[in-house]
């Protein structure tokens, strides 16, 4: 495996590290502790529900169908590091849909 974060940490995604010895999620950018790796790292994040029209610029004047997803059908859920505010992940979800536990490592096998 690739261990390019140093200090015994594994770089699981772009900005998310696993500290293999303590079995905890850690921010790759600032080292903020995000909680036990047996749980979803998103539980250690700050979370924000964004209107998709803020990112996907609508036509001007707005139309029913445009470059923006419909805000009643689709929301952008953003996950920030509480330490440095780097954005680990975004999910495009219907409002109310459960947050995805996207990475569940077999910690015994990862070592």
């Amino acid at each position: 495996m690739v261990t390019d974060s140093g200090a015994g940490r594994r770089r699981i995604t772009e900005a998310l590290d696993l500290d293999a010895s303590s079995r905890r999620w850690v921010c790759n950018r600032c080292g903020h502790d995000l909680g036990p790796a047996a749980r979803n790292y998103k539980e250690g994040c700050l979370v924000y529900d964004r209107d998709p029209r803020e990112i996907h610029v609508p036509f001007d004047p707005p139309t029913e169908f445009g470059f923006n997803p419909h805000p009643d059908w689709c929301r952008i859920v953003e996950f920030y590091c509480p330490g440095c505010a780097v954005m680990f992940d975004v999910e495009y979800l219907p409002p109310g849909h459960p947050i995805t536990h996207d990475i569940e490592l077999d910690l015994d096998a990862v070592g």
Binding site: M1, V2, R10, R11, I12, T13, E14, A15, L18, K42, E43, G44, C45, L46, V47, Y48, D49, P52, I55, H56, V57, F59, D60, T63, E64, F65, G66, F67, N68, P69, H70, D72, W73, C74, E78, F79, Y80, P82, A85, V86, M87, F88, D89, V90, Y92, L93, P94, P95, G96, H97, P98, I99, T100, D102, I103, E104, L105, D106, A109, V110
Partner: protein
């Protein structure tokens, strides 16, 4: 089917099942048998036992000679792909929306071309059906020079709009191999010209469904069979040319394979084909062993079933255990029963190859051996639709979302591995396709569409931006000769603020703007997804590419403006929609339409998907943002608001201090707006989409899959002979 009262049924709660139990019950097709259709054939995940010829040649396989032979084999296959592209008339075939494959005598795929992976991957179905049911049937049989045609998705096609030929290859009177070729033809005699009928009620409106049919002997077509096929479609000339193109490819593949037999002997060639599969399987397992054990999840959404709009849930759970991968799709929305978006198990499995072969197995030789360590399970749902009558014409759209979801899960597995170079956001998926039917400029019947639909934006990679108009999700290794040829004459301008933002941004897809000219009217139908819910997903904090509308301007003055030499015509969709320089009645709609008449002067605009971004937008190099502004793909407003990049007056350089201040401001805003996870979930979980979004969803948020044990037995129907006996 007799419906029993619920109290008398044996019901299974899928959610309560363990993964291994799901694999045992649903890791196989639930498709019903039919004439020419044998689910047992399509459900074979295992490789066939070697033939005596393959065993006889095994000892002669010197590693160096084998490597040379496999290289030659790949050259033969790629040559076949190019011949098909250059000889074909259908534009989708010219664009490389096709597949070419060589199979062992028993039908295991030993090598395949780049292009659309599942086109070649599924051909084991018709080959094995012929071997099982027709070889010993005295009314059919099998001989050197036989030509078989097929297009039925349940026989091993993809949808009826894809047409294929296959031929056996004999050496010294013994069956040595099979060759196959085909791709997207379009016109199939379905209810709308050129296919892609979004409003169908069942498969019987999707044109011809041909199970393996011997249409020729001695390498020549039977005139009666050919005329039957051509008489069933609107474009007999085009289909005739393309049938001959496919035959030319199969004959050429066969000749070149037999040349290798002359040079190396039949046992060597037979054993070489077998060994190529075995080697791929071994390397695939070794590759998988390099990834962290665990479960990787994603959930993606369709926003239409063609005939009606609504959210469709498509979850992917990728289990990595040792040297095996298990793809579990429990929790998908139920089979809608109407519309063309149904997927079968074997197509979902083939779709997973489109996701995994170019990424997880990057650099390995493509053969069915790569599938040896992979299992797929899907309870009855839209991705494993069991109803025999359900339409599958846009099952490929559903399959594409499976590709997106599987890629998102697989990238989470791939990043912490020696194979990080394969990490990228998926190709854009929000596809809009249009077909025109009517009379062409030479008075000939036309029924088909432009191939530019395949020119979508590439997702951002872990170290690079995505390329513009680069290809598409079914074939990350594909050519788009249409756009390349066009851009040589007319340089493109790309739309603004549509690609996925991130540390690396996605590529922009191609937009077609048709002005109807020289015809009183054409029938058109279009199909697509992603107008209310974008599926051009980003990765690791990157935003998705934009949603997409279909725009029609009725009674426009576009032709008059062009005739007058107007130099301020809109050069992008955003410009067209915002500025309204072209007069007429603007209709902004969702992607699906059928039987719509467009008349002289009408304008039809189809924006294609843009790739998702990679990583946090605030980490994008400010100079790269400045270059995006200069290229016209990012507005200065978005640069400031979203990327946090401020340009100095005049826009020629980045204002470094102002950019640092703006980014600090955005980070502070994130900390202020972001809520602790428990607080967020407490409120979030109380929300729901509007009722009209959930018409086809199943129970929200996770569809409950309680199924009738008697309807879906553990063992599929095997069928021991031809269906009619």
């Amino acid at each position: 089917m007799t419906v029993m009262p619920a109290s008398q049924r044996a019901l299974l709660d899928v959610a309560a099942m363990g993964l291994d139990e799901r694999i045992a019950r649903f890791g196989r097709p639930l498709m019903r048998p039919g004439p020419g259709l044998d689910p047992e054939v399509l459900h074979r995940e295992v490789l066939e036992a070697p033939t005596e010829l393959e065993l006889a040649g095994a000892d002669s396989l010197d590693p160096v000679d084998l490597e040379i032979f496999l290289h030659k084999l790949d050259s033969i296959i790629d040559d076949g792909r190019d011949v098909c592209k250059y000889l074909s008339m259908a534009e989708m075939l010219q664009a490389g929306d096709l597949g070419v494959g060589i199979f062992t005598a028993k039908g295991d795929m030993a090598g395949m071309s780049t292009g659309v992976i599942l086109h070649a991957l599924l051909h084991y179905g018709p080959v094995k059906y012929v071997l099982k049911h027709y070889v010993d049937d005295p009314t059919v049989g099998l001989a050197d020079g036989d030509i078989f045609f097929f297009n039925d998705p349940d026989a091993g096609g993809v949808h009826t709009y894809d047409h294929f030929l296959m031929m056996p290859v004999f050496a010294g009177g013994e069956l040595l191999a099979w060759v196959a070729c085909g791709g997207h033809q379009g016109e199939t005699g379905s209810r709308s010209p050129g296919g892609w009928s979004p409003e169908i009620g069942s498969r019987y409106e999707e044109g011809l469904h041909i199970t393996p049919l011997r249409v020729g002997t001695d390498s020549r077509f039977h005139t009666d069979h050919l005329e039957f096929l051509l008489n069933s479609v609107r474009t007999p000339r085009q289909n005739s040319l393309d049938m001959k193109a496919r035959l030319a490819v199969c004959v050429r593949l066969r000749q070149q394979l037999l040349r290798e037999v002359e040079r190396r002997g039949a046992p060597f060639v037979a054993a070489g084909l077998r060994q190529s599969i075995k080697t791929s399987a071994e390397l695939a397992r070794r590759r998988i062993s390099n990834f962290n054990d665990g479960v990787y999840r994603s959930v993606v959404f369709l926003d239409t079933i063609g005939i009606d709009d609504g959210l469709i849930r498509l979850p992917v759970e990728l289990h990595k255990r040792g040297d095996e991968l298990i793809i579990d799709m429990a929790g998908a929305s139920p089979e809608p029963g109407i519309g063309p978006f149904h997927l079968r198990w074997h197509l979902a499995r083939a779709a997973s190859a489109a996701a995994l072969f170019p990424t997880v197995f990057r650099g390995l030789r493509w053969s069915i051996g790569l599938f040896d360590p992979i299992k797929l399970t899907a309870p009855p749902s839209i991705v494993n639709a069991p109803s025999r009558d359900s339409g599958t014409g846009s099952g490929s759209h559903t399959g594409r979302v499976v590709v997106q979801g599987l890629l998102l899960a697989a990238m989470r597995m791939l990043h912490d591995s020696p194979h990080r170079t394969g990490v990228a956001a998926p190709f854009a998926e929000n596809l809009l396709l249009i077909q025109f039917g009517g009379t062409g400029q030479f008075g000939n019947p036309i029924a088909g569409g432009p191939a530019n639909g395949n020119a979508t934006g590439q997702g951002a990679r872990f170290d690079l931006d995505g390329e513009h108009s680069a290809g598409f999700f079914w074939a990350m290794v594909v050519d788009c000769p249409g756009p390349e040829e066009q851009e040589r004459k007319f340089p493109y301008r790309f739309d603004q603020d549509v690609c996925g933002l991130g540390r690396y941004r996605g590529g922009v897809g191609l937009t077609d703007c048709f002005v109807i000219h020289g015809t009183p009217g054409l029938s058109s139908n279009s199909v697509g997804t992603g107008s209310r819910f974008t599926k051009n997903y980003g990765l690791f904090g990157g935003y998705s590419g934009a949603a997409q509308p279909r725009i029609v301007i009725r009674g426009s003055d576009a032709k008059e403006l062009m005739a007058a030499g107007a130099d301020d015509l809109p050069m992008s969709v955003r410009e067209l929609a915002d500025r309204r320089r072209i007069s007429g009645e603007y209709v902004f709609g969702h992607p699906n339409s059928e039987g719509e008449t467009v008349r002289d002067g009408d304008v039809v605009v189809l924006a294609r998907g843009c790739g998702g971004g990679y990583g946090d937008v605030l980490e994008r190099d400010p100079e790269a943002v400045r270059a995006d502004i200069a290229d016209g793909i990012t507005s200065t407003e978005s640069a400031t608001q979203l990327y946090g990049v401020v340009l100095a007056p005049g826009g020629c350089r980045v204002d470094v201090e102002a950019t640092e201040a703006r980014r600090a401001e955005i980070r502070a805003e994130r900390k202020r707006l972001g809520r602790p996870y428990p607080d967020f979930v407490a409120d979030w979980s109380q929300r729901r989409p509007p009722p009209e979004a959930l018409r086809h969803y199943g129970e929200f948020p996770v569809p409950v899959q309680v199924i009738d044990d008697r309807e879906y037995p553990v063992e599929p129907h095997s069928g021991t002979g031809a269906w009619h006996r």
